[in-house]
Symmetry: C2
Subunit: 161 residues, 2 copies
DNA sequence: GCCCAGATGTTATAACATATCAATAGCACT
DNA sequence: AGTGCTATTGATATGTTATAACATCTGGGC
């Protein structure tokens, strides 16, 4: 059953299972513990396939008896973000499962202001103008936040012709 | 009396006055009202020359009898951001006066995680890889957030040698 | 003077995030 | 099995950021 993701359709069940399997693998290799709450949190983010607030995630978890207090959600999100399984969208104060799980990358996001869907892409800002500016200023870049807000294909005004 | 700004020294009093004059001019031309609270808020952001939280700004304002409730600060900041006189740093949930006031630009920021100083530079992410990705996805970019976190020159570990 | 739009004053609350400390579970070592 | 260490979880409280909602005021066009 295809479903919209990153503005494109795909076999979503398959995509969730693949990502979970990769996460299991990565944790086994890295000695990380993908505990029930963490694994279920990742599964929820993958299933929603959009940016969820920490309290949105918490609502899902608490409905399943996996914890009812904010720290439960924030701890799980912190783990997932550290492990590279999820990203925080700063412009939304929300979290989304990584779309390139297992691949080393510098994420960038396209965020629809109308339907809040998010597409993850890749970038290398530290190698472009931003990197030049940092170098000139003597600044050491450790992390970059690149987010574009606008309208996704589905939310474009019909207009024109 | 020079003071650090964007990791470099400069005549700060002069820089504040110039920016305020430009803001006055711009408002006069555009039919915007730079009311006392708004003007003072901009002056405070300019004087601090670093990212201030809305409640930090509110503390300054309330100490001067210019309003004591959150909406006062958020309204002023909203005006300044809309007018292009200030920017929101999404990664900090904080606000900073624009360093290129009056010039049309797409801001990008270098944020020191140690001393919280911020340098504003310029970028054109919509013309690079991000723009390509957006085009391929049929996404219309309206605004971009580009922020780099790391260490400023003053906060680099001495080490080496 | 009247009206309207924008700006302010004020109260309350929503939404996002962390500090702290106690209890527990997994694991290495003996 | 028992000991000690560390990561995780449970639970309560609090801190921080942001907006909703509604009343009031102010300035400029008519
Ligand atoms: Zn997917
Ligand atoms: Zn959309
Ligand atoms: Zn600027
Ligand atoms: Zn610094």
């Amino acid at each position: 059953m295809p479903r919209t993701i990153g503005f494109a359709k795909h076999d979503h069940d398959d995509c969730v299972q693949t990502a979970l399997a990769r996460a299991d693998m990565h944790c086994a290799n890295a000695g990380l513990r993908l505990t029930p709450v963490r694994r279920r949190s990742l599964e929820i983010l993958l299933a929603e396939h959009r940016a969820l607030g920490a309290y949105d995630l918490l609502a899902h978890l608490s409905a399943e008896g996996l914890g009812a207090q904010p720290p439960v959600a924030y701890r799980a999100l912190d783990f997932l973000v550290r492990a590279g399984f999820a990203h925080k969208i700063e412009a939304l104060n929300a979290y989304i499962a990584c779309a390139h799980l297992g691949v080393n990358h510098t994420p960038a996001f396209l965020i629809c202001r109308s339907c809040r869907s998010v597409a993850e892409t890749d970038t290398a800002p530290a190698q472009g103008r931003l990197g030049d500016a940092a170098k000139a200023a003597g600044f050491t870049i450790e992390r970059t936040v690149v987010e574009a807000e606008g309208l996704c294909p589905a939310c474009q005004p019909e207009s024109a012709s």
